[in-house]
Structure formats: structure tokens, C-alpha cells
Symmetry: C2
Subunit: 129 residues, 2 copies
């Protein structure tokens, strides 16, 4: 089985090992994928910044890899991880999927776990996917 990178990237779904909550989706190039495997800490390739991005390098909320799964086409990975911090999302939520789409628009369906201003201060606040 050879991972299929498309334009050098593979999407990686991160799932909380305990709750089953889907935390986020990021992208990995081969180097990020290998670094994720060898260090056991989820590392993406930031398409915005065009460089490796260890998730949590600013916030400290890292993702420890427990299992890496691959889909039938070998073009998507699913990582079971433990979150070492209150939340995965740069907006202060456990999961980046904190809103649902309704008939009328959208609705926030989760509570904030932390205040992004406290965690990020003047540092890079934006999502880096």
C-alpha cells in the first residue's frame, strides 16, 4: 500500500481517540506524514504558509498519535489521537466542527474551552490549514 498524495498532499482527519469526536482536517505532504509517524505528534503541511506545521506549536495543544488508518483508495488518512490541551480549534473549541448548518443559517453547538486571546496573545491566531 502506497499512500496517494495529490499535488503532494493527503488530507488527514483527526479523531479524538476517547470521545470519537472529529477534531479537524488538515493536510500532510510526505515529509509531514513521516514526521507524524516518527515523532508521534501530528504534523501538517500548512498550505497557507507553505511549511511544516506541528499542530499546537503555538498553543501547546498538541495531538499525540495513537493509530494511523488509511482508506480503501489510500488517498486519505484517519488519525486517532489524544489532545494534550483543552481544545484543538484556534477559536477556542474542542473541535473545529463547532457549528452546524441549519435551514436558517448556522448554529454554534459547542462551548468554548479556552479563550484564544489568552492562548495565542499576539501570536499567529489564524488557522493554518
Amino acid at each position: 500500500m502506497e499512500l496517494q498524495f495529490e499535488n503532494g498532499l493527503v488530507p488527514a482527519i483527526i479523531q479524538d481517540r476517547h470521545s470519537g469526536k472529529v477534531l479537524m482536517l488538515g493536510y500532510m505532504n510526505r515529509e509531514a506524514f513521516e514526521q507524524t509517524r516518527t515523532t508521534g505528534v501530528v504534523t501538517f503541511f500548512s498550505r497557507k504558509r507553505q511549511k511544516l506545521w506541528v499542530k499546537g506549536e503555538t498553543s501547546g495543544h498538541r495531538l499525540r498519535v495513537r493509530e494511523i488508518r488509511v482508506d480503501c483508495d489510500a488517498d486519505t488518512v484517519l488519525i486517532q489521537a489524544d489532545l494534550t490541551g483543552p481544545g484543538c480549534c484556534h477559536m477556542g473549541y474542542k473541535s473545529c466542527f463547532f457549528r452546524r448548518i441549519t435551514q436558517d443559517g448556522e448554529e454554534v453547538i459547542a462551548d468554548r474551552e479556552f479563550d484564544p486571546d489568552d492562548v495565542y496573545g499576539e501570536k499567529q491566531k489564524e488557522s493554518q490549514t
Copy 2:
């Protein structure tokens, strides 16, 4: 909140509403996304075939939409769904993520739920993402 389609597509993670299992990842263009919303049945855009693809149109194993979530960047959706059939994967498994990557290679970690030959016969057997 305006969904951010990249090159006309947004990745859609499908999660089984009951088990929390991540079933698959597919891609939607705006039309597929709107059809998914209005019909309540997950509809992708097949990049291989360059056309709309109602998941389960061949196998009958459709995905009924229960909730659509969107991430902080609004560039990925997470759909909570009910699977109307034994498995989501065209290779006969409940989830497309039926293998884990190990030190030595890969390992199948799920049982087959159905025989793809029975379900697909001579019809399109391939994944269409």
C-alpha cells in the same frame, strides 16, 4: 458563513451518527452540497467521473443526512449520517478506513460486512472519490 470551495470542491467527512465511526471522505461541489441538503441523502462529486454521485446509487447503501457541521475555516464539512446498508466501503467494509498503518506495513482491523461481488456484480466496483 459562506462555504469555501477550493477549485470548486469541499471535502466532506462522513461520520456514522450512532457509532461515531468515520466512514469515508468524499468531495462535494456546490451542486452536490445543495443536493445533499435538499434530498437528505449524501451526494458527492466524483472527481474520477466528473459528475454527481449519489453515494449508494449502485449498492443501495445510502447515507441519510442527520446533521451537517462546518469547520472554523468553512472549508471542510462533517456530516453525521445513518448508513442504510451493511457497509459504506466498496470493498465490503463498514468504513473505508479498515486498515491501520503499522511499523511493518499495514493491517486490516475490521471484518467484511458484505461481499462486493454480490453487491456490485459486473457494475462499477471502484471507489469514485
